[in-house]
């Protein structure tokens, strides 16, 4: 067994966490906006919502792809076990992603109300199902899934859905993304639609606070190892506290018309949540429950040091460029959108 103190495997654990957090922050707002899409009743409002995410949603999804690729590269057994074990769930996620992409691309290419109505529903429903499925997957990973001695998944699709904790994580993920999406829309819209978004902000905030409270309770009931980690390192309590403060800051910033700061607060809240999950799980990547000795961890699942070194070099060279031009592209598309100027 490989064993070295602060090692490359730990660095990759963190890096994958960063990629998935980046994904949650970025795709989170466009999934959230999609989940709210049907609440906008007027065709040109729906067009504005699509315009608001139009130039960026595709790039946002890349974070998930790269996160998945990094998991494959850095921890092949985890990738292999999770993806084959959660087969049906992942297939549903894939279908959802494809269907959603198709809906965004094709929705406005025809004038007919039926055509648009169909793709609007497809877009919105897939934007709701995806965060729930991803949250359910995360919830299962947090509390552990049945693994056998070979590190293969020993449950079924229904195992993943049969426990309350993952379901609660799924709902909370949806709520978190919906709030995040509503803030993004507040940032990008104006006029009548902006007034409507203000109503959604209230609704999603209540939804998120309630589900977050339920999740916190559920953690004490069903995720004792997370609680134990918190008790062992009480400094970690700062994360949920910061999360609540960041969330409470959202209405304040919105009230003062500082939409962008409200958006940053929401980003910060997502970071705090996922950091808590990451720290709580480390060094487990896929804990085994009920046989913790079969868990897949950074110690028994990492790729070889040469492989991790090569990938780290690639990341160190590539990531600064990615961050720089991603920021530049967001800068180009900053500001409010209307229903016409992204017509293509």
């Amino acid at each position: 067994m490989i064993n070295y103190p602060f090692d490359l495997a730990t660095a990759w654990f963190i890096l994958i966490g960063v990629l998935l957090t980046g994904y949650a922050i970025l795709d989170g707002f466009d999934l959230g906006a999609g989940a709210l899409h049907l609440f906008a009743k007027k065709d040109h409002h729906r067009r504005v919502i699509l315009n608001a995410i139009g130039p960026v949603w595709d790039g946002n999804e890349v974070w998930l792809l790269v996160g998945g690729g990094a998991l494959f590269a850095a921890f092949p057994p985890v990738y292999a076990t999770a993806f084959s074990g959660f087969y049906t769930a992942f297939m549903l996620v894939l279908m959802g992603i494809i269907f959603r992409a198709v809906a965004i691309e094709f929705r406005s290419k025809e004038e007919s109300t039926k055509w648009r109505g169909f793709w609007d529903k497809a877009f919105s429903i897939s934007s709701i199902i995806l965060p729930v499925l991803m949250g359910v997957a995360l919830g299962n990973v947090i509390i552990g899934v049945p693994l056998d001695v070979e590190g293969e998944y020993a449950g079924t699709f229904w195992t993943l859905l049969s426990r309350p904790f993952p379901i609660i994580v799924g709902v909370t993920t949806l709520a978190m993304f919906m709030l995040h999406g509503a803030i993004y829309l507040a940032l990008k819209t104006s006029g009548e639609l902006r007034d409507q978004v203000r109503g959604w902000l209230k609704g999603t905030m209540i939804f998120y606070f309630v589900s977050y409270a339920v999740l916190t309770g559920a953690m004490f009931l069903w995720a004792p190892q997370m609680v134990a980690k918190l008790q062992a390192m009480p400094i970690l309590f700062i994360l949920p506290v910061l999360n609540v403060l960041a969330l409470a800051n959202v209405p304040r910033e919105l009230h003062h018309g500082r939409d962008f700061l409200a958006f940053l607060s929401s980003c910060f809240s997502i970071v705090a949540n996922l950091a808590l999950v990451g720290i709580g799980m480390f060094p487990n990547l896929l804990p085994s429950f009920p046989n913790p000795e079969y868990s897949l961890t950074t110690l028994n699942s990492a790729s070889s040091i040469p492989s991790l070194t090569v990938m780290m070099t690639i990341a160190i060279i590539g990531v600064p460029f990615v961050l720089a031009y991603t920021a530049a592209i967001y800068w180009v598309f900053r500001g409010k959108v209307d229903e016409t100027h992204l017509h293509y």
Partner: protein, 468 residues
């Protein structure tokens, strides 16, 4: 059907469908770089119009390419988990590089390419076009590195772990430049240039035949046919070289392609024909000893035939043998078509040749067929291995995934892809019929755009307030 067969069918369906789109994106990307570059150089608004039109087609192709590409990355884990464990240490770094260097680049700058016409300066827009094209090329590099490693593994060692044997990387550059990477990358990228070029040729020939958008059609044809001519000549040379290299790198595949059984005899070249597995002979139109001549110029060269290998180590002959011939036939035909087409378009006689134009319209489908068949030669020709001589396909599947689960997902994929294919062609047809003049705004004169900085134009506070 067994889970293994179903998993293979699912991979073939999803990869085969996906593989329609990226080659088109790469090929159209090259045309966009040429057209927009010419626009900046000559300031001729026709080039601007051409770039605008092809960007829209490109965006459609790209979108479907991304949507169908996502399942490819996840499918290694879902359906081929033992393979993933085996190759992760090696394959992973290529995929990671693809993500970091290619995916972000393509999808990020695509936003500016499609939506940024009025938001950035023309030079910045051209830069974005180049970045999208470069991203698609990088993507091809890394995916072909990974795929070539499966064909000709290098730069690794094997290690026994608690859950089985795995390959570990020892030399990154030997892995990247494994013996077949360069051949397969050049071959695939040239095929992509041909795919994009013949697609553009087809659309422009359609306008020419209908006597619509004639200036647009003429100029698009000149560019696309020139690209096609250069690429098809280069393709024949590269294809020839990569087949020569097979003799050494993957002799089983070479023997299968040529239907060459007897190791003690020189290789004949079968132009058209078939391989009889009972008699182990190929029949049809043959040139004796020509296969040997093509290997190294010597008609007496002998190479390993199918008889040198155990039967369980050989791929099925018929599909590989026939796919190869049709692919080469298409390649040759495309070379002739682009030669005749280029001469006609530059002499200005193409407009009076309706038959040639009709052939060009239909020919858009040929590079796709050749791509698919070439991929069959490569992948079916590698069987029974998923990693050549190291890991059998039958030992690569996911243990915990049942045939029923795969049948379910396969059904969903087929349903979804039929829908997607239908929509793609419907919208493509609509876009082509609408023509380059639809939704087209003349550019401002380049001089007046010079002052505009990156992003400084549309969202001035006045314009936002005015709209709200």
């Amino acid at each position: 059907m067994s889970a293994e067969i179903l998993a293979r069918i699912q991979f073939a369906v999803t990869a085969g469908f996906h593989f329609i789109f990226p080659p088109m994106s790469i090929g159209l990307g090259l045309l966009l770089v040429i057209m927009e570059g010419l626009y900046l150089k000559t300031k001729d608004p026709l080039y601007h119009k051409m770039t605008r039109f092809w960007v829209l087609v490109f965006a459609l192709t790209f979108a479907v390419g991304v949507a169908t590409g996502i399942p490819m990355e996840f499918q290694f884990g879902t359906n081929w988990s033992r393979y993933s464990r085996y190759v992760g240490d090696i394959f992973g770094s290529a995929l990671a590089a693809e993500g970091v260097f290619a995916f972000f680049l393509e999808s990020g700058f695509l936003a500016i390419l499609v939506f940024g016409w009025n938001k950035v300066s023309p030079k910045m827009h051209f830069f974005s076009t180049c970045m999208v094209f470069m991203g698609s090329i990088f993507s091809a590099v890394w995916i072909l590195v990974a795929n070539s490693w499966q064909q000709t593994p290098a730069g690794f060692r094997l290690e026994q772990t608690a859950t089985g044997e795995v390959a570990r990387i020892t030399d990154f550059w030997a892995m990247v430049f494994n013996p077949s990477t360069v051949d397969r990358f050049t071959h695939t990228v040239l095929a992509s240039f041909l795919t994009g070029a013949f697609f553009a040729i087809s659309v422009a020939a359609y306008y020419m035949l209908k006597k619509q958008h004639l200036d647009f059609a003429r100029r698009s044809l000149k560019i696309a046919l020139s690209v096609a001519l250069v690429a098809s000549v280069a393709q024949i040379l590269v294809g020839h070289a990569s087949t020569q290299h097979l003799v050494k790198n993957q002799p089983e595949k070479f023997a299968t392609i040529e239907g060459h059984y007897d190791s003690t005899k020189p290789v004949d070249l079968t132009i058209l024909g078939s391989y009889n597995p009972q008699t182990n002979e190929t029949t049809g139109i043959k040139i004796p000893n020509m296969g040997s001549v093509l290997i190294d110029g010597n008609p007496d060269t002998k190479v390993q035939g199918l008889d040198s290998f155990a039967k369980e180590d050989l791929p099925p002959v018929a599909p590989v043998f026939q796919s190869f011939r049709i692919m080469v036939g298409i390649g040759t035909f495309l070379l002739l078509l682009s030669l005749v087409g280029t001469i006609s378009v530059f002499r200005g006689t193409l407009e009076n040749k309706p038959t040639l134009l009709k052939v060009m319209i239909v020919s858009a489908v040929l590079p796709h067929i050749a791509n698919l068949l070439g991929w069959m030669v490569a992948e079916v020709g590698r069987q029974p291995w998923s990693v050549y001589r190291l890991l059998r396909t039958s030992e690569s599947t996911s243990k915990v995934v049942s045939a029923g689960q795969i049948a379910g997902s396969l059904t969903m994929f087929i349903f979804l892809y039929i829908l997607l294919g239908f929509l793609f062609f419907y919208l493509l047809d609509k876009r082509i019929k609408a023509g380059p003049d639809a939704d087209y705004d003349e550019p401002e004169p380049l001089e007046s755009q010079k002052l505009k900085l990156f992003g400084a134009k549309v969202n001035t506070p006045e314009s936002t307030e005015a709209k709200s």
